[in-house]
């Protein structure tokens, strides 16, 4: 007996509820769904990566103690200002240092980049972040800076390990992600 069925393409897959350890060990690969995790706004409100479902996320891990990270912040700021699109969220997360230190560094230099608290809690935290269940994430983000672009479907479409000297050249890359995502996301 034949059963009629319609196939609806899945354009959005929910973020995994819990990061499995194998994914954690291999880190975030291009083409994978970005694992969900928690962080905080400057006002200490809790956020999750999955809160940005439907948007494109430029996710950047950095620390003011890290010279290569500091070196590229002006470039990222320039990219941020050039993109200027409400559909794209820039999320900069501090690693291995107190959030106040990261904030003070940005403020002193007059950067407007949206920074968030990874809740790393200080320099001894080598596995600082937690998944949505509060489990610590031992994934391969130990090196900073590290950058990901996550599309509207939660897929990692771009990954950069280490610093870039010319972030403004990525304007086109990100614009392409916007264009591609518009076709995929209703």
């Amino acid at each position: 007996m034949l059963t009629a069925c319609s196939v609806t393409p899945t354009v959005w897959q929910p973020y995994p509820k819990k990061l499995d350890y194998d994914t954690a060990k291999t880190g975030w690969k291009k083409g994978n769904l970005a694992p969900d995790f928690k962080f905080k706004t400057v006002d200490s409100n809790e956020k999750r990566l999955s809160d940005y479902e439907g948007k494109i996320v430029f996710l950047h891990f950095w620390g003011s103690w890290c010279k290569p990270c500091r070196r590229e912040i002006p470039q990222i700021e320039s990219l941020y200002k050039q993109i200027d699109n409400p559909d794209i969220e820039f999320i900069l997360l501090n690693m291995n240092e107190e959030f106040e230190t990261s904030m003070a560094w940005m403020k002193k230099r007059g950067f407007d980049l949206p920074i968030f608290n990874s809740m790393s809690g200080g320099q001894s935290d080598k596995t600082p972040m937690t998944d949505v269940s509060g489990n610590r994430i031992p994934y391969a983000l130990e090196y900073v800076p590290k950058t990901f672009v996550i599309d509207r479907n939660g897929l990692i479409v771009f990954r950069q390990d280490g610093s870039k000297t010319n972030w403004t050249s990525y304007v086109e890359v990100i614009k392409n992600v916007i264009t591609e995502s518009e076709h995929q996301y209703p």
Partner: protein
């Protein structure tokens, strides 16, 4: 023949020694020497191995291991900071105040290490606390 054997052995030993040193450098960019100054103060001399770029801005976090409970806890002061740039050829001398706990057997130093011009990471080196009779 004996000379050749001796020479071969010497070269092998040297190669092993060089290899061991290289592995050590590869493995641990921070070299640490410890010495008790008095009953609760431990002097730590930190030096970068082979010009490894160790961030001074990240500071150094030192924790002691209580082997009875297998707990790492920070020693005083909680964070050692030394200004800007990298720990290169010079040594940094710290004085860490350790709790008077006979079960404290190990130290862990966490620091920022930049293996290239493009990235940095946090990593730790674990070492044994020297016995106090060596004061």
């Amino acid at each position: 023949m004996l000379k050749l054997l001796t020479l071969t052995l010497l070269v092998t030993t040297l190669n092993q020694s060089v290899l061991a040193e290289m592995q050590n450098i590869e493995k641990e960019p921070l070299l640490v020497k410890t010495k008790w100054l008095n009953y609760d103060k431990l002097q730590l001399k930190l030096q970068a191995s082979n010009q490894a770029k160790i961030s001074l801005e990240s500071g150094f976090l030192i924790e002691a291991l209580d082997k009875s409970e297998i707990i790492w806890s920070p020693v005083l002061p909680h964070k050692f900071k030394f200004g800007k740039g990298y720990l290169m050829s010079e040594k940094v001398i710290l004085e860490a105040k350790l709790p008077d706990n006979p079960y404290n057997t190990g130290l862990r130093i966490t620091y920022g290490y930049c293996p290239s011009e493009d990235m940095c990471k946090y990593q730790s080196v674990d070492l044994l606390i020297p016995p106090k009779q060596e004061i």
